[in-house]
Amino acid sequence: MSTPLLEVTDLHLAFASREGVTRALEGVSWQLNAGEMLGIVGESGCGKSVTAMAVLRLLPAPPTTHISGAIRFRGENLLQASEARLQEIRGNEISMIFQDPMTSVNPVLTIGEQIAEVLMLHQKLARRAAWARAVELLDLVNIPDPQRRVHEYPHQFSGGMRQRAMIAIALACKPDVLIADEPTTALDVTIQAQIMELLDRLRRETGTAIVLITHDLGVVAESCDRVVVMYAGAKVEEAATNELFARPSHPYTRGLLDAMPRLDTPLTEPRGRLPEIPGMVPSLRGAAVGCRFAPRCALAIDRCRSEVPPFAPIDGANPTHRAACWRTVCEAIAE
């Protein structure tokens, strides 16, 4: 296997404030290969967004944040990169789209100006060329009548169109990596599907690798190659998408899957309430003793509460499917 395009290794991240220290990430690792779509899923507050922000080094400066580990982009450790180098990378080699399309574009600049800006910044295009390219990009992301739309302000765009415009900005410089932080959460279901389709198409056409952050497993199932499941600042399971859906190993992953509405059960059958995972996400204050999920886990044993489980393959046959659990679900069933 060649070296991965983007590699996050043992990333630890803590926020310090007067009230104490929040351990937002505790040893997160993952890899993104060229052209791949990697899904990162987990409940709200598990550290998905901060992971993305850490990759682009957009977090507040120390002493507010403590960050350790390594983030390697083409072998270069971004945690040690200079600010000038980071500015070169941001928006050019790695770009990001944000959760809320309504507030992530500047209301006083036209869409065209905002697309042209990145092109002039990174590709050193002249104003005219940048505007021409902006029109092409709007066309690429399926915005009708791009010639006219390019001169419009964000408030004249619908939410779905703004998200497309954001994607156009993010893809303007043909980045190698696109980090999409819940790109569809703020949108309704049909628009969600269109945006996902668009991302999928763009990935195939441009070869941009995508990190898709979401808490919607349905979205993951449709478009991701691999999935990383996070819980309370740590990775609890990682596998190829099919494998994960076929054999979820960590009790948390199982819980997430069970909490998904299923469309394949006939409507005539009584469906009842969707099972939910009992309890709440633990506070991130203080160091972890044992498995963070143990208090909510039906299968927890004493060991789970006292020792942090290692992240290891769940069986010898498939080394790419790994989980951090003392009692993987399979074992529990076998007993």
Partner: protein
């Protein structure tokens, strides 16, 4: 389709064929009214020396306190000076003071407020200083400054701008603090945009609309303030015909020659109104959400 909607479409099409200027005037009638009024005052101010037959400072003991006549359109004051000429020349002083104060306080406000909004330690120092300035009543600060320095139009401008500055800085800083937390600023960072450019291109344009409106009000109030200071004898030097000075001269002869106070007062009122109308109009014009409304 709805009949009224069709009619609306026809109207839009009709308007699209109209000359641009006419369309603009229809859409922003108050702005245009303000601009026209101000243009007239500016015109009169610039061409005052050629429009007036009489010198604004020339005294004439024989023609004291004369009512309007062909020779003295607005009459004369207690020293026989021509009010028309004085009022027109006074427009120069008022406009100069109004615009300079607005520009000066807005410029200082943008720079200081933006920097304070982005740097914590500068913020701590600057804002305590501004708090200190705000604690002194503006009129006191201005009067003190005028007595300490030699009376001239420049010192009047500084004396009026000084108490305005902390208010503008506060406004800008408050706006910057909310703007800097906006996701689009983070998005700009994520695109690799450098901080100076983010300030210039993403922060300052978002300040302009509220600031232009504020500046127009400052301009209007500065003109009033100048008249106010001159009326108190702490403003423009008495030999300069500013509206405040003319009115101050007319104070004692109000029953004999009301015109001495009336005309400069009228001009002051109209100019202030014009500037305020322009401020309101610009707010609508510059807000992209309102600008494209019918």
């Amino acid at each position: 389709m709805d009949l009224s909607l069709e009619r609306l479409e026809q109207r839009i099409a009709r308007q699209a064929n109209q000359p641009r200027a006419l369309r603009f005037a229809r859409r922003h009638p108050l702005l245009v009214l303000g601009l026209v009024l101000l243009a007239i005052v500016v015109f009169l101010a610039i061409f005052a020396p050629w429009l007036c037959a009489n010198d604004p400072t020339e005294m004439n003991v024989i023609a004291r306190l004369k009512p309007s006549s062909a020779e003295h359109v607005f009459g004369t004051d207690a020293m026989g000076r021509d009010i028309f000429s004085r009022t027109l020349h006074g427009a120069r002083v008022s406009l100069l003071v109004g615009f300079c104060v607005a520009l000066l306080s807005a410029a200082v406000g943008i720079v200081v407020g933006t920097v304070a909004g982005f740097s914590r330690w500068i913020d701590a120092i600057v804002m305590r200083f501004m708090d200190g300035m705000m604690a002194i009543p503006g009129i006191l600060l201005a009067v003190a400054l005028m007595t300490l320095t030699q009376a001239s139009v420049q010192t009047v401008i500084i004396a009026i701008a000084l108490p305005e500055i902390p208010r503008v800085v506060r406004l800008v800083r408050a706006l910057v603090l909310t703007i800097r937390e906006q996701p689009y600023i983070q998005a700009a960072h994520a695109c690799g945009t450098r901080l100076p450019r983010i300030l210039a291109r993403h922060v300052v344009p978002n300040l302009l609309t509220p600031l232009i409106v504020q500046a127009s009000f400052i301009c209007a109030s500065a003109m009033i303030f100048e008249a106010y200071l001159s009326f108190l004898g702490a403003g423009t030097p008495p030999e300069v015909p500013s509206w405040g000075n003319i009115m101050a001269d007319g104070r004692s002869v109000v029953q004999l020659a009301f015109g001495v106070i009336l005309y400069p007062g009228l001009f002051l009122g109209l100019t202030v109104l014009a500037v305020n109308l322009i401020g309101d109009g610009l707010r609508d014009l510059l807000d992209p959400r309102i600008a494209k409304k019918l």
